[in-house]
Amino acid sequence: MSTTYRDVDRAFKRDLLASLPNLRAFAVSLTGRHDKADDLVQDTIMKAWANQGSFTAGTNMRAWLFTILRNEFYSQMRKRGREVQDSDGLFSERFSVHPEQYGRLDLQDFRKALDTLPDDQREAIILVGAAGFAYEEAASICGCAVGTIKSRVSRARTRLQELLGVSGEGDFGPDPGDAAITARAFGS
């Protein structure tokens, strides 16, 4: 057992650990659920560990791990079909598991809005706007052109603005349909 080999191992583990919180946040963004996200992170760790040899020391480990996790996510989605996205689960997890982390209602609204975005737009805006990747890195993680990432991010922003702009007013009031029924029921 040579010392240099062990140093490489230790560095690999250290960098992997350092990337985990960010990787996990990405997994939660993709799956919309903490339990599914943690399973995905676990699979990613196993894959990454088994493929240590294919990682070039000194290159961007975070981008490498994100690529593995993303590939894993989409291949699992394809295998299981869309049943992964059960909306009941999404709803109950969002409001029961970690309510203290989303202290303000508007953050919950934001998460809901985020979940309604198409997968490709959501991952693009998360990678660039939250995970701290450059457009070029995000493009390489998603295996597409830089221009594609830019347009996905821009469409995601527009969509979120629309969604959150619309829901900003009258959150607690009756919607127009209900108001009409109320008016009929109590009207002259």
Binding site: K13, A25, F110
Partner: protein, 71 residues
Amino acid sequence: MSDDEIRKKEKMTTAQSNNFRPGAMLPNASISRKLREFYDAVQEEGIPDRFLELLERLEEAEKNAKSVKAK
């Protein structure tokens, strides 16, 4: 079109773009902020024990495999 009318029209256009700008900047900035707020909330949860244990096990297994090879 009289000079007055042109001036009026210009004034309206200017007023519109002035009104539009702050409105367009604000939601965009708040969306970026919310996005990071949501993401950071998950990051701040730290590393669950199951992952630390998993890495220990993987490391242990690798060490054992290597020492068997070395013997």
